[in-house]
Amino acid sequence: MTGVEFENVFDDLLDGDEELKAFYQVLREQVPQAFIQLHGDNGVVLPEVVDQPCSSEGVAQLLEKTHAAGGKPVAEQGQDGEWCYGLRVDKVSAVLLFSLPGRTGNLLAESHGRELLQGVIDYALLQQEQQLLQIENEQIYRQIGVLKQKHTALIEDNFRQYRLIQDKEKEYARTLESEIARQTAELRNTNARLEEASRLQSEFLANMSHELRTPMNAIIGFSDLLLELKLDKESREYAQTIKNAGMNLLVLINDILDLAKIEAGRIELDNSPFDLRETVDNVANLFRIPAREKKLTFVVEIAPELPALLYGDNNRLRQILINLVGNAMKFTAAGEVAITIGLQDLTSERAQVVFTVRDSGIGIPPERQQAIFDKFTQADGSTTRKYGGTGLGLAICHQLVQLMGGSISVKSVEGQGSSFYFTLPLKVARPETVVVARPEQGRDAENIPAEAQPARSALRVLLVEDNPVNQRLASIIIKKQGCELAVAGDGIEALVQLEKHVFDLVLMDVQMPNMDGLEATRRIRKIEASAGTRAQYACLRNRTKPLSIIGLTAHARKEDEQSCYGAGMNGFLTKPIIRARLEAVLVEEADGCAAQGRPPEPAG
């Protein structure tokens, strides 16, 4: 501390006698009747107006005596007999002189007189201390006041902040809500756009399959017809090549469309009861003759405890098996091909069926074993050159098995053979409650009973078809069966024909301009239903049962099949027209007509 001491800071501002004055004031109040005089060490004498307790000489004498007494009170009797007293008070740095007028005894001679004097002085001094304490107290109260203010302010501020936070939260909730609403709307939009895109894609797929199959229909159909003519060896070879190439291309197109459908999520799996044994036998039958030709042993093993009926998509399962067995046949030069159906798990409800297709063929190198399930991938590039194929078959199998909730894998040793396994969880069906769906006679021409009989009596057929090439092809096949034939270019023309002529069978193309096959079929069924209108149609008026209408469609999708039946058709054939199948239909119809008796041609 380099400067003044703390308690002396304000000394410059003081006269120095404030304390003394205060002390005098208190004494004055205590003993109003006494003569009092204070002699400060700094020379100040209080009161200023002289109030002498004794004569001037007496004062000087008394002061001297008091100083000499060293703190003890002294008494001096004046000439008038009054006693004057002197006392040193260190606290105020002064000497106190006083007298009590009218009193003659020496106060200091009696002990209680001395005590009384001391008490008065102590009291006066304490009064000063009390003042200090009072000020201190006031300061403390002010500080408490500040704290109270702060406390109030804090509470108010707290409330203000509470409101603010509430406001902020509300605002936040609002922005959150609007943001959610905006994003939801955006998602909805995106979703709608995606759905639209997906619908367009699916439409495109459907159209593509139509557009692709129609020319294939012509190529295969006409090369087929060509082969029936008398040709020289070279021409026959050319025609056969065209037909084979066409068939290969059709398989490829079907594969690509299948895969596209699967990837677009457009494939709908059937879930009806079917006889798995029959399906497997069916597939096996396709390969027995080729196996014999290649001198391969062909084995089929089916676990005896396999339930008679299972729920599933029979046609897709068949497709998978044909693909795998077809591959096995293709890549096996000697030895055997085996189909094994085992059970991993069986309860009364479910069967975990393991399908294995094993061969003793060329095998697959280990590093390629996973990749073969990818699209357009074969064991290696040279495979394509040597064995052909699209590399799509296994990708489709893989996808279909996955769709059915199973998994497919391969074990193979190069040069020794391959085994493809897939496992499917299938629900067990109770035989008494279900009607078994027969495997659809799909696009595999080999599966069709080839020995269709020519129609016994001339069947009257109306072919409704807009495409001239298809018209011609179908016409030739139908006429070759010995049927009578009329042709209509669209639904409207067909109705006109029905008005004038009698037919036993209508082959109705689905996709046509002006009026499509579905609409035309619906109209025909409507006319049949009303006796009044029916009478106007030569073809319909005398019939005892509805006219047979068989749809022709390049759209091989499940929903197309459904819409054919929905419109009232009796059946449908996929395009390209497979000759054998068409012939089978014609024979069946002819038999039906013969049994029923034919409505006569209207007179005139």
Binding site: M1, T2, G3, V4, F6, E7, V9, F10, L13, L14, E18, Q131, L132, I135, E136, E138, Q139, R142, Q143, G145, V146, Q149, K150, L154, Q161, L164, I165
Partner: protein
């Protein structure tokens, strides 16, 4: 000769208040700020967090339980104390350095400022019953103009200091002569840039104005009282030289002598507490 504006602009380019200090000052001035906002800012500065917890757990607050969470500490200490805490921290760094034998002593100035702040807060609370936070800030910051001048025109400031004689003139007048402006104007402008409260700005501008009678209890008057006391105790920027107490304040002190004596009696304890609290170099 440079104007006060030029000095402040140059100084602001050289030295800026810490980001945290500026953000806190802004929050104190904003009616819509909440304790949560303070918390977010303080969290960024670990030194500040330490100081804050030290402050709230000091005898000054006399809490029974130890406070260890920032939000709780912020509530106890209050926005203004928080701002002062940051100001002290920020200014201490500005007051550092630039020490040479024949020149202005920033260390002396820092001790002076801290002492004035403590005395001024005591007077505000005990004599005028005011919350002392703004007064404390004014005390800490009132001579910041001297730092600016020392930084930019150190030699001129030193010659102004040499010419200063409390019996004849004031330091501000000498600065006007030697520099062309004074630390009251410069400090006022700088504090304005920091967006300090108007009362504080006014006190910085007027604390050497001995001619006028400022209202008792205003920050300016309290600052003048505290400056005098600090000077008497030997804590003036130029040791031994400080302005005399203006007459209106002499009258005031005389009339409340016992009050001031009580303050002087308690001052050493308060200074020790503050030293502990702010880790000042008192």
């Amino acid at each position: 000769m440079p104007t006060a504006q030029e000095l402040v602009r140059k100084f602001s380019d050289l030295k800026t208040l810490p980001h945290v200090a500026l953000r806190l000052t802004k929050l104190v001035n904003d009616d819509r700020s909440t304790m949560h906002d303070f918390e977010e800012v303080i969290k960024l500065d670990p030194v500040l967090v330490t100081r804050l917890l030290r402050l709230v757990n000091s005898p000054y607050f006399g809490l029974i339980n130890k406070v260890e969470s920032i939000p709780k500490a912020v509530v106890y200490v209050g926005m203004k104390n928080l701002r002062n805490l940051v100001a002290v921290e920020a200014l201490r760094n500005l007051f550092r350095g630039g020490e040479n034998e024949n020149g202005f002593s920033r260390k002396n100035l820092w001790i002076h400022s801290a002492t004035v702040a403590i005395i001024a807060e005591m007077i505000a609370k005990r004599i005028f019953g005011q919350e002392g936070e703004d007064v404390f800030l004014a005390g800490i910051i009132h001579d910041i103009g001297l730092i600016v001048e020392d930084q930019l025109v150190g030699e001129s400031l030193w010659s102004a200091c040499a010419a200063y004689d409390p019996t004849k003139n004031t330091l501000a007048l000498c600065e006007m002569e030697a520099i062309g402006t004074d630390h009251c104007l410069v400090g006022n402008l700088l504090a304005k840039e920091w967006r300090l409260p108007n009362e504080v700005l006014k006190a910085i501008r007027l604390h050497h104005d001995m001619e006028r009678k400022h209202s008792l209890g205003s920050i300016t008057s309290i600052l003048q009282l505290a400056e005098y006391v600090a000077g008497k105790l030997g804590y003036s920027p130029l040791v031994g030289r400080f302005d005399p107490l203006p007459d209106y304040l002499v009258r005031h002190v005389r009339s409340s002598m016992t009050n001031y004596k009580v303050i002087m009696r308690d001052l050493p304890t308060e200074m020790a507490k503050a030293k502990d609290l702010y880790e000042t170099d008192l």
